[in-house]
């Protein structure tokens, strides 16, 4: 190795304690000056051993364990699991239950995307947008609470159906809430699309072409923002997506701006779908008559579209009261490779935005992020996410020629 190069090179480690994502993870970025030349990731801070845990719990108990793989997309994990188990038991939930599952899935997408928009704006240094989106997000949290009684883990799914009916009164609350949210989402779309300062942080940053996206196996809105037409809700409709289809939202540009717009357009589409379902809600039972306690031996896979992308479950039964093996593959892990690819060649200041652009969910993934600055001469310092975020915001302030004091 060239000694001068070694002297110039720094490794910047980040995490695992940081306040922005609220989750632990550890990254190491090699930098030459400002430019990132290499990146690696260390995961596993939140690895709890859930997959093994499922093997010592029965089929019903697992529903509640798997729901807690992730607090943001809890319903979709339970849905993937229930669909798999129902396939094993050879039963199918009644149409009304399927429609209610879809309503919950879309409400969850709304709360997840709004949450992401706020966190992403916070990392760009745009705290006003963060506070506004989180204020509006309370609307959908109220809806979820009214329908299910809990704000985060709603436990709407049970094996063979759903637990809660959507009454006319609840439907009215949902419709009223959606009207408000739709108006706000149009506003956010114009902010993300037109605000010059925000566009400097997003337009042309973290570019990923369609070919790269396909090669890296990227999923969800991150892939759709690179023009990959991949959405399980459209490709292989599950629950009630046959009867109430969603529109595939893609954009060809593949930068951070496109990832913002794809998610905001998906929000608008979710509002439409929920209205469609409520207007034409199938009547009938909420659960199947009988659900076996022991599942027939066999192997099934079940695929669903979580807010972050494709979620994949593999379930194997040997005919007992608990599963023999459950394998979960979450969308964040699929997308993590793209961060490492995209970060190379960019300024260190862009790293927070690139990372947040895939909407990482570490609790899904394993469940932790940190930067450690280590000089080759032995000095070492760990950056936390706050340092990196502050560094990113300061960098762009200087670049735009703004005095820090103006914005403070």
């Amino acid at each position: 190795m060239n000694p001068t190069q070694t002297a110039d090179r720094f490794i910047i480690p980040i995490g695992p304690q940081h306040p922005a994502l609220k989750e632990p993870g550890h990254f190491e970025f090699t930098v030459e000056g400002e430019t990132v030349t290499g990146a690696s990731v260390r995961l596993g801070y939140a690895h709890r051993g859930i997959e093994k845990g499922t093997e010592s719990r029965n089929w019903t108990q697992n529903l509640y364990l798997l729901e807690r793989v992730c607090g943001i997309c809890s319903h979709i994990h339970a849905t993937a699991y229930t669909l798999g188990v129902e396939q094993l038991a050879e039963v199918e939930a009644p149409p009304r239950a399927q429609a209610i599952r879809e309503i919950f899935a879309e409400l969850e997408r709304i709360h997840s995307h709004l949450l992401w928009l706020g966190v992403a704006a916070h990392d760009a240094g745009f705290d006003t947008l963060f506070m506004y989106t989180w204020r509006d997000r309370e609307t959908v949290m109220d809806i979820l609470e009214e329908v299910s009684g809990n704000r985060v883990h709603y436990s709407a799914n049970i094996l063979g159906g759903v637990k809660f009916d959507i009454t006319d009164k609840a439907a009215n609350t949902i419709l009223k809430g959606l009207d408000f949210l739709e108006e706000r989402t149009h506003h956010y779309r114009s902010v993300v699309n037109e605000d010059t300062f925000f566009l400097q942080r997003t337009r042309g940053v973290g570019l990923m072409t369609k070919e790269e996206a396909l090669r890296l196996g990227v999923v969800g809105p991150t892939a759709r923002a690179s023009g990959v037409e991949r959405d399980i809700r459209v490709d292989a409709p599950y629950i009630a997506y046959h009867d109430f289809p969603v529109n595939l939202v893609t954009l060809p540009t593949g930068d951070l701006e496109a990832r913002f717009l794809v998610r905001l357009d998906e929000l608008l589409d979710s509002y439409r779908v929920i209205r469609d379902i409520l207007n034409d809600m199938p009547e009938g039972e909420l659960t199947v008559k009988r659900m076996p306690r022991k599942m027939k031996p066999g192997e099934v896979i079940s695929r669903v579209e979580a807010p972050r992308g494709e979620l994949f479950y593999f379930i194997r039964s040997t005919g007992g009261e608990s599963p023999d093996r459950i394998k979960v593959r979450t969308p964040t892990l699929c997308n993590m490779g793209s961060v490492i690819k995209q970060a190379v060649g960019h300024n260190l200041a862009d790293v927070p935005m690139i990372l947040v652009g895939i909407d990482p969910c570490f609790s899904c993934n394993d469940r932790a992020v940190s930067i450690r600055e280590s000089r080759r001469n032995g000095q070492e310092k760990v950056w936390n996410w706050a340092d990196l975020r502050r560094y990113g915001i300061e960098f762009y302030r200087r670049k735009m020629g703004l005095e820090s004091s103006i914005l403070e």
Partner: protein
């Protein structure tokens, strides 16, 4: 004798000054030691406009070296235990730990999984527990207010008024005598 007495007075005074400075505006640092995110987003929700915990003089910030209160979520995993201890050791005295959520109390639904050690108190001492899966933002505010009232008895009325403004009944909070369980200690050793 005189010297010892005055040293004690000085120490008491310093202690009072430190508690006074801390209780008016405690700074929080948050660490997720293996949580599912549910509690983390609820903590964030309490800081945003609907609930706005900052009205009680609380600020969430990044560095453990500036923090008075460590807010922990989730069960302790084998990999994050050392990190959690390090964060706790980096915090200056006096420090407090609040465990948010059922998992941080006992390990919750993950209890028995091979990588789980149990609740936060398996790794570091805990001062306040807030149960719930996840706790509602109101419950988190209650827990923090309880801690604040204990730290600074003079401000009890002020904090109660603020909570009424937030739409939370401050007297619905269980008092300390309600929480004492006489059967919890059958042998009677204190």
């Amino acid at each position: 004798m005189m010297v010892e007495g005055s040293t004690r007075n000085l120490r008491d005074l310093l202690e009072r000054v430190r508690n006074w400075a801390l209780a008016n505006s405690p700074w929080l640092v948050h660490y997720n030691s293996g949580s599912c995110n549910g509690c983390d987003i609820e903590i964030l929700a309490t800081l945003t406009p609907r609930y706005d915990l900052e009205r009680l003089g609380i600020k969430l910030q990044g560095s453990p070296r500036h923090a008075d209160v460590l807010v922990c979520t989730g069960p302790v995993t084998r990999q994050s235990r050392d990190r959690l201890r390090r964060i706790y050791e980096q915090m200056p005295e006096p420090k407090f730990v609040v465990a948010v959520g059922t998992c941080s109390i006992s390990g919750g639904v993950f209890r028995g999984c091979y990588n789980i050690l149990g609740g936060i108190d398996e790794a570091i001492p805990v001062d306040a527990y807030i149960p719930g899966c996840p706790p509602r933002p109101e419950a988190i505010i209650n827990g923090v207010a309880l801690l604040l009232k204990q730290l600074q008895p003079d401000r009890v009325d002020e904090i109660d008024n603020l909570m009424v403004e937030m739409g939370i009944d401050p007297h619905a909070i269980p008092q300390e005598e309600d929480l004492t369980d006489e059967y919890a200690d059958p042998i009677g050793i204190r």
